[in-house]
Structures are given as structure tokens and as C-alpha cells.
Subunit: 379 residues, 2 copies
């Protein structure tokens, strides 16, 4: 509140005195140098220890300075989106000099984009931007209107063209917003389309938790918190209702409504969804992407969706998908499941593209996979 | 990171053991009782003092409990959106049990909606929801593509109707997102339309800071921080370019493109913008709303937009606007300016509706004004 009152006081002073000096823009935090270095600085004169946590990438002690601040400069970070917070004497504290925050499931962190050369696909560049829509589609199978996010490529509104559609699914703990937030899907698509690396396409980001109508806070469920705890989790319900989404999208947008111009991909649980939706609907998707897919996570007996996978895959691949793409990090806890799945494909001589990255089950990988996968679509 | 690893461990354990117990939903924070009480609880066993700050409404010490937590229960809070944070031994700390956050300019806070009776217009209810779009419009006058937010009433996509348009402007320090975030504009419109209290309408929320193309972080300016410090601040540039917005909206949506079906309102700086845009374009708006308007904040000589206000108002009112609405709180630092402005209107016998509320320059008032004003539009 003090900050608010202070700023109001400044506003009044400014308006009355017209002293433009008050209007110096705020410092950015962290400070990103022209050399691509990133300097973190936090004021905590009475603290014993201050740690900096950068998402899944770093957890390190900071250095106390003479002026009561704690600092750390990092070099050689890859261009990407980063999420971070501090631990001051054991207590999680955000960077008050950085108003940009994102949440990972329930964990709120500060965020910044590192783009030292102006070519990071996750950064906003001065290129044509697609529109992003939050819409409520009708799902007769789930008996609800449900929220999903739609990316329309630049020029969609002005053109009379029809566009291919890419269904992009989130993981457990996520919702319809997460590919836009942590995933930077709109920025990635804007940049890849602008450079000609990707074909203009519609991207559809539904909510894969069938027990919620919308992301926590956006639905009629009230002040619920984000969670991994969802009913009907990976039991076939989402897969069985997926046609509701496709029907609604084809009815409400100028889509090229056939297999050749339809892709589906997802991360973790969304990879699992993508696998089974595409295997059960072999006539619907020419492009399939499994990003760190949670293959074989659940009992296979619960739903017919999960039965006879091998036979379904053989049928699916007989029709030669244009691309069946599998990406995973070496340290992912799902790595072995993905090895087994590839062995199943190999045994049946089903051809896929495999991308193995470093690191594990994390957004840095999933953003990369999105950049790679998207460039192969609809060509 | 520990939380993430912990949840991943849980996921693995769950998947392997199928022990649904792990999947208990998380506790909500703060805890809202059936009696409408709100209990805040924060763990800080080593702290000397813990303060709870609720936006502009409360700043109070919390009580230490035997178990090392600090608690406070509040009763008789009005149904509304609330923003809060803690100050633990002088350090700002967010509520780690609440993943919902909003920022007020640069100040990030936790948030919750208090809706004990299920009738708070700021809460999400199980009613038809309008779509919300982030679009990039062309502004020839500003030489840029700029981002703005559009609310489309439920049924817009399926109908062939044309709709009235409400232009809703933010204050200094705000941007195109703030009426949707702190202002709860989509929820307010959904609820008022569902109950029949408001006419279905399109709501257009542009960015009134002419030196930025989009909200901080969403534009090509990179990792910039939200600020009051904008170039060409209240110098007439935004008002002079406003036709670009109206033209784009009328070209891209099914609008009823005439004065009878057009409204403009804004808070603080946005009220100032609404005052001068409507006074300079007397043929364009039948409904004008000034919410805690920053009347006479700046030198009047800078732009022809600000010249001859009295004569312009007389011309504007000759054409009998359907509603000229002024709302302000008794404690607002702009109260006296609004008194003077009403005296100017009174002197010229220009008829307006005046709503005086308690409290000051704050979102609780602006959300209320939105609820009141919107119900009078296009009837």
C-alpha cells in the first residue's frame, strides 16, 4: 500500500508541478547486460543467507555486498524464458523490482526473457502478431461449456483463407493458459511465421483436466488453487471427448478440416493424450508430437481408449503420418518409458523422428520442442 | 524447485502405486468460511512482526500462534476482489499457499474473490461467458500496430446481430490488460448480461500509453517494467489517435456504428481521456463515464484537444447525451477537481448523473462504478 500511496503522491506532485524528472522509467530487474550477462540483486541487509533459484536450472547462494544487497552475475545463459525467486533465510521471496511473474502449477516466480541477439523465438519481436482468444466451447460429452485458448495467425481476420490447425496439449498441473504463459506459444508462432520457418496455422490450446471448466480462478469453481489432483485423470475421458473440441473449432474458424492439415502434440500428460487420441483417430492427424510424453503412466484397462495400443499404432502408421515426433531429455524421469515405447515402434517398423535433448522434465525443453516441431508442420 | 521435484516424485509414486490419496486437492488460502469470514495464515516461526496488507483497505499486525504461524480472521468484508500481501520483519512476502496473483502497476500481490452469497458481480458464475481477445490493431496516427483487449458478449460468434460498443479506458500506470485483471470486466459483463441487467455489448480496452505498443512484457519493448513514466502522457496524442481504434473496431466486428450505440468511460487518466475524446467528438458517444477522472491534471495549452473545453461541452450537451456519468470517492485526491468540473457543468446547466462513494482513488470503487455504469448503457 505504501508503494501505491507513494506513486499517487508522485502523480499529484507531478501533475501540480509538471516536473517530468519524477517520471524516470523504473530500473529493470534482473539487469541484462549487452554481453548477455544477467545480474540479480536483492536488498536484504539483515539476512544470513540468500539463495537464487532459477526454475529447474540453478539453485545457488548469492554474495553479500557492503551495501546490504546480495548479488549474483550469471554469464552464458541460453536465450530463453527464465523463472526465478529468492530464498532469504529459508523464506521464499519474490523480486520486488520485477513485476513479471508466472506460476508453475502453484509455484509463483518472477520471470524474464533473455534475448541478447534479438533472435530468441520466445521473445516478443517487432513482427506481425497473431490474435489470442479465450473462448468457451461446448462439450456435449463432458456436459459443459469449457474454456480454451486459440492462437490465430497474423492476417487471419483480414484474409478469407482456410488454415491448418495444431492442437497443443498441456501436462498434469497445467491448464489452457500454460502453453501461452510458460510455453510462449504465441511468441514462438509469431516469430516462426514471420521468418517463414513455420506455416501460418491456428493453434488450439484446450484444458485437459476434465473436472474443471477453466484454469483455476477463471471458472465457476471459485478460488480454487492449481493442482495435480484432478478427477478422471488419464482415464480416457479427455480423449473420448476430444471430438467436441475439433468439431467446435472446425465450426467456428476457417480451418482446413482434414487430416493433412491437422497436428496434435502435448507435453507429459498432454503427450499421453496426443498418443492415444491420434492412435484412436487414425484418420485425423498427419502430425503427432510427443514431448516428454507420460507414456504408460496409468492402468491400461480403464478405458477402451487404452486397449490394443500396438494394433492401433500399426493401423495409424499404415496411413503414413507425415510426422511422428518424439522428444525427451536424457534426465527425464520418463526417459525409460519413452525408450520402451520406441522399442515397440521399432519392432513394428513404424517410422518416427526422435529428438533427444539434455536435461529433464522441464519447460526449457518443451519450448525448444515446440520450436522444432512447429517448423515441420503442414509442409 | 523442491516443490516441483516433490510433485514429480508424487506423480511417479502415484502412477506406480495408483494411490489416489496423494491426489488430495490443495488447501485454499485464504480460507473463506461459510459465514463469509476470511482467515489469513502464514508460517513464519522466527519472525518478530507480521503485517497483512489488503490493497488500499487494510494494514494490520497479525497474531502469532503457538505453532509458529501468524493468523488473522476478518469478518464483514464486502463481496469483491481483494489483493493482499504480507510484510514479515519488514520484507514483502507473498502467500505461498495462494497461486493467484495480480499486479497493481509494479506491485505484485495475491488475490482472491469474496463471493459468500454467490452474487458478487466480480466472481465467475456458471453463466454464459463472453470471449476475450487480445488483438493487434493498426494505428496509422501512432505509426504502430498496438495491442488491445476485446470482450465479445456470449453468443456473438453464433449470432448475426450487430452490437453496441463500450470503450473502457485505464488509468496512469495501467495498460490494456488492467480492466480485465483488477477490473474484472469480463466477469462483470458476463454476470450483468446473464441477469438481464446489462445489454449485450462489445467492450474495447485499448492501451492508453502511446509510447508502448502493448502491456509491459507483451510488446517488442522487451523486459520493461510497468511504470507511470510514459512519454506523451496526457498531451493529446492518445485522444487524437482514438479514431484509429474506433475505425478498426467498426471494420473488424459487427458493431452498431453510431453514437446511440457507443459508450466511453475510463478511470483516472482514462476518465480524462474519456472527457476530452467525447468533448472533441460530440457526434460519437451517447454515453460518457468519468470514474475518479483526472480532470485538469495537465497544462491545457499543449494540444488543441484541451482548448475551449467549456464551449465544447456546451456543444456536446446540446445533442443531449443519453448519460453523462461522474463517479468519485469522498477521499479521492481528485475530489476537488471533480467538484470544480461539476460546477462548470452546473453553471452551463449541462445535465449529468453524479455518484459519490466512500473511500478514494482505488479499484474497489472503479469495479463498483463499472457495475453501475454498465447497467445504464444502450437502453
Amino acid at each position: 500500500m505504501k508503494q501505491i500511496l507513494f506513486m499517487l503522491a508522485i502523480m499529484c506532485a507531478m501533475a501540480m508541478n509538471a516536473q517530468q524528472d519524477f517520471f524516470a522509467p523504473p530500473a529493470n530487474s534482473p539487469v541484462i547486460g549487452k554481453d548477455g550477462s544477467v545480474t540479480f540483486k536483492v536488498k536484504a541487509p539483515g539476512a544470513d543467507t540468500v539463495r537464487l533459484i532459477i526454475d529447474t536450472r540453478l539453485d545457488t547462494l548469492m554474495q553479500r555486498q557492503g551495501d546490504g544487497t546480495w548479488q549474483l552475475r550469471l554469464r552464458d545463459l541460453e536465450p530463453d524464458l527464465y523463472m526465478y525467486h529468492y530464498i532469504i533465510d529459508g523464506m521464499k521471496v519474490l523480486d520486488n523490482e520485477n513485476a513479471h511473474v508466472l506460476r508453475d502449477v502453484k509455484n509463483v516466480m518472477n520471470t524474464f526473457v533473455l534475448d541478447p541477439n534479438g533472435d530468441c523465438p520466445m521473445a516478443v519481436h517487432d513482427v506481425p502478431h497473431g490474435d489470442v482468444q479465450a473462448v468457451w466451447y461446448d462439450s456435449p460429452n463432458l456436459g459443459a461449456k469449457r474454456r480454451m485458448m486459440i492462437y490465430l495467425p497474423p492476417g487471419y481476420e483480414q484474409s478469407h483463407q482456410r488454415y491448418p490447425v495444431f492442437y497443443l496439449l498441456h501436462g498434469s498441473g497445467g491448464d489452457e493458459t500454460v502453453w501461452l504463459e510458460q510455453g510462449r506459444a504465441a511468441q514462438v508462432l509469431d516469430n516462426l511465421i514471420a521468418s517463414g520457418a513455420a506455416t501460418p496455422m491456428i493453434v488450439v490450446m484446450p484444458n485437459g483436466n476434465v473436472d474443471e471448466k477453466a484454469a483455476p480462478g477463471m471458472g465457476p469453481e471459485g478460488n480454487v488453487q492449481p493442482t495435480f489432483a484432478h478427477k478422471n485423470w488419464m482415464d480416457g475421458t479427455f480423449e473420448q471427448s476430444f471430438n467436441d473440441i475439433m468439431t467446435w473449432v472446425d465450426n467456428n474458424y476457417r480451418t482446413r478440416a482434414n487430416k493433412r492439415y491437422r497436428a496434435i502434440a502435448g507435453l507429459s500428460m498432454g503427450g499421453y493424450h496426443s498418443l492415444y487420441i491420434s492412435a484412436n483417430q487414425p484418420d485425423d492427424f498427419a502430425y503427432v508430437g510427443l514431448f516428454s510424453a507420460a507414456i504408460n503412466r496409468m492402468d491400461q484397462g480403464k478405458s477402451t481408449i487404452y486397449n490394443d495400443l500396438e494394433a492401433k499404432l500399426v493401423t495409424q502408421f499404415k496411413q503414413r503420418p507425415k510426422l511422428y515426433w518424439i522428444g525427451i531429455g536424457k534426465d527425464d524421469f520418463l526417459y525409460k518409458d519413452n525408450v520402451k515405447f520406441r522399442e515397440l515402434l521399432d519392432k513394428n517398423r513404424l517410422r518416427y523422428t526422435y529428438h533427444e535433448s539434455t536435461a529433464g522434465h522441464e519447460w526449457a525443453n518443451w519450448r525448444d520442442y515446440l520450436v522444432i516441431f512447429t517448423q515441420s508442420l503442414f509442409k
